[in-house]
């Protein structure tokens, strides 16, 4: 009985330890290659690489790889995926024995020796999961920074987006046949069959107006595009781990005052569009953006005045927390750039709209509760009754989950 009890306790401790470790470990399988974390509204994708060199001290190549990665993928760059921010980190080491990393061989060849850098997934790209499968790269030590950025794109799960000019129509690429962006893989480009021969030729493919060149189609001039980020996130993060929320916050107030020989009526109306990203702990983090209007009319002996001011765009950082069928406000932080002057002028009299967050007079005093597909909160409060004074403050908040990946157009 005693032994059983000790075993049970030991088992419980092991379980607790395991649960604690699981909570601290980044998402992804044990020995995972790339990893991801979701913290607040930020997805962090970490590329884990074991770098080897065919000659010399690998540490300088570790630094070089870090530098290139920072310039193109990492550093301070923040990408977007749906309602989430996306940042990339490179965890690269030359130390052997660390399993669960992609392998990159930096290959030194003598001057004048032709070397074409490659990445191999060991399987079709469609089956490649950067969090579970090994990618193996052989990168020429003299490769340009842009080529290395392109190869990192492969490690992250992006394919090449070019085709070749089959000038002799033999159905294979010959030595002197050039590559060019493939509109079927890179929709930023379009093909116009100017000679009407039904065959896509290099000179017939051009960038669509307003579009940007793709790093995976043209390494010398291309850029990392939004659809690259979308594809990478979808390769790394299971869709069920992501949830975006959209909604609105509407608020306003009206008031009417009537005094001897003078009267005043004022209204304020505001509407914010809300976009929030949910993390694993149920925190909804994002922004509320919109506009606010105040207007009023007043009269007094010898004067009739009216004034109106429109403010916007206003932006607020918003944090909420979901717990079951309730969502509670955690914090709201006005953007420094809001710069709202909360007053209008009537007959030379400044009318001040007081508030700690200029432009947002919304009151969210309680939780949003689930009502069918949406989470809803409504507040209405008449002004205290007093002679000649009437008015009301009101706030309506509506939020609903939209999934993720369905609204990339929200991205910058």
């Amino acid at each position: 009985m005693w032994r059983t009890n000790v075993r049970w306790r030991a088992g419980l401790i092991v379980l607790l330890l395991a649960a604690t470790l699981a909570a601290l470990t980044p998402a992804g399988p044990a020995g995972a290659r790339n990893t991801y974390t979701i913290n607040g509204d930020t997805i962090t994708v970490t590329v884990r690489v074991h770098l080897k060199t065919t000659r010399g001290d690998p540490s300088r190549w570790v630094k070089a790889a870090e530098s290139v990665f920072a310039s193109f993928w990492g550093g301070d760059r923040v990408f977007r995926y749906s309602c989430y921010k996306v940042v990339f980190r490179l965890d690269i080491t030359a130390q052997a024995g660390d399993s669960g990393r992609h392998t990159v061989n930096v290959v030194h060849v003598p001057p004048g020796t032709y070397y074409r850098s490659t990445v191999n997934w060991g399987r079709p790209l469609s089956d490649y999961d950067p969090t579970q499968h090994d990618a193996e790269g052989n990168w020429w030590s003299g490769a340009s920074e842009r080529t290395i950025a392109h190869e990192f794109g492969h490690v992250l799960g992006l394919g090449d987006e070019y085709t070749y000019e089959d000038s002799n129509g033999n159905g294979r690429r010959d030595d002197n046949e050039r590559t060019f962006p493939d509109p079927a893989k890179a929709p930023e480009y379009e093909w116009r069959d100017t000679d009407r021969d039904g065959k896509m030729e290099r000179g017939e493919v051009s960038l669509r107006p307003g579009e940007h060149r793709s790093l995976m189609a043209e390494s010398r001039t291309g850029e990392i595009l939004q659809r690259h980020i979308d594809a990478i996130v979808e390769k790394h993060v299971p869709k069920e781990k992501l949830s975006c929320w959209t909604g609105t916050i509407e608020w306003g107030s009206w008031g009417q005052l009537q005094g001897p020989g003078a009267g005043y009526r004022g209204e304020s109306r505001g509407e914010l569009s809300v976009t929030l990203a949910e993390d694993a702990k149920g925190y909804l983090t994002g922004t509320a953006e919109g506009a606010w209007t105040i207007e009023g009319q007043g009269y007094s002996p010898g004067c009739t005045g009216s004034d109106r001011s429109d403010f916007g765009p206003l932006r607020f950082d918003l944090k909420m927390r979901r717990s079951g069928d309730r969502i509670e406000l955690v914090s709201v932080t006005p953007d420094q750039g809001n710069e709202v002057e909360t007053q209008i002028d009537l007959c030379g009299i400044p009318i001040v709209f007081a508030g700690s967050h200029p432009g947002w007079g919304a009151q969210i005093y309680g939780p949003l509760t689930r009502q069918g597909e949406v989470y809803f909160y409504e507040f209405r409060q008449p002004w205290p009754s007093s002679p000649g004074v009437s008015g009301e403050n009101w706030t309506i908040v509506v939020l609903q989950p939209t999934g993720a990946g369905d609204q990339s157009q929200l991205s910058d």
Binding site: G112, Y114, E136, S144, R178, A262
Partner: protein, 215 residues
């Protein structure tokens, strides 16, 4: 958060009732450039006779080479890391009518060549019917003291031919200049200057163990 309009409006009421109206109303820069003049350093470790498995892989890689499939290029790169003596295995492919197989053999041999047998095998490619293949062979052989490689490289300077099957249409010109500058110590701006230099030195130039010198 504000509590709304009420406080301001009460102030307004007081003001309205207590005053008169005033009426105002958003590289190509290399990571680390190859060092011109650097000593050719083909062999990181002594080449070894390949085992049967490597030989089988080499044959499969060459025979299955498809330039549009990066994985087949990758396999050639992986085989190059084996540092095994591949002359006997690759030499027959240099006579192949299939240009893809020929290229795969030249590419791999150019990467691994460091034995007399491999060098002799690769020299056959200096007469390949495809100019850019000849340049690939010459670029490697130039660093191994093969004088016959130089005129091929000189011819490539200024050429708009492409390195075979390059990913983004890299010209042979850059590779040829890199090799010539590294192994001759000469630097010329134009193709004509390189050709004039070759005409001056072609009868006397020789490899001194580290670079080409003319008497």
């Amino acid at each position: 958060m504000t509590r709304g309009l009420l406080p301001g409006m009460l102030l307004a009421l007081l003001a309205l009732t207590g005053s008169a109206c005033a009426g105002r109303s958003l590289s190509g820069t290399p990571v680390v450039a190859p060092q011109p003049g650097a000593t050719p350093a083909p062999a990181a470790s002594p080449t070894a006779t390949p085992d049967a498995q490597v030989v089988a892989r080499v044959r499969a890689a060459v025979e299955g080479f498809d330039p549009i499939e990066e994985a087949t290029f990758h396999e050639l790169n992986m085989l190059a890391l084996e540092r095994a003596d591949m002359a006997a295995t690759l030499a027959p492919y240099l006579e192949e009518p299939d240009s893809g197989r020929r290229f795969a053999a030249i590419y791999l041999l150019a990467l691994v060549a460091d034995t007399p047998e491999e060098i002799e095998a690769l020299k056959v490619a200096l007469d390949d019917p495809v100019f850019s293949y000849r340049v690939v062979a010459a670029g490697s052989l130039a660093g191994l003291g093969v004088v016959e490689a130089l005129p091929v490289l000189v011819e490539a300077v200024g050429s708009d031919a492409l390195l075979p099957y390059s990913e983004f249409n890299e010209p042979v010109d850059a590779l040829a200049r890199e090799a010539l500058e590294a192994y001759t110590g000469q630097t010329f701006a134009t193709a004509e200057e390189w050709r004039a230099w070759w005409e001056r030195v072609k009868d006397t130039v020789h490899w001194d163990g580290t670079r080409y010198v003319a008497d």
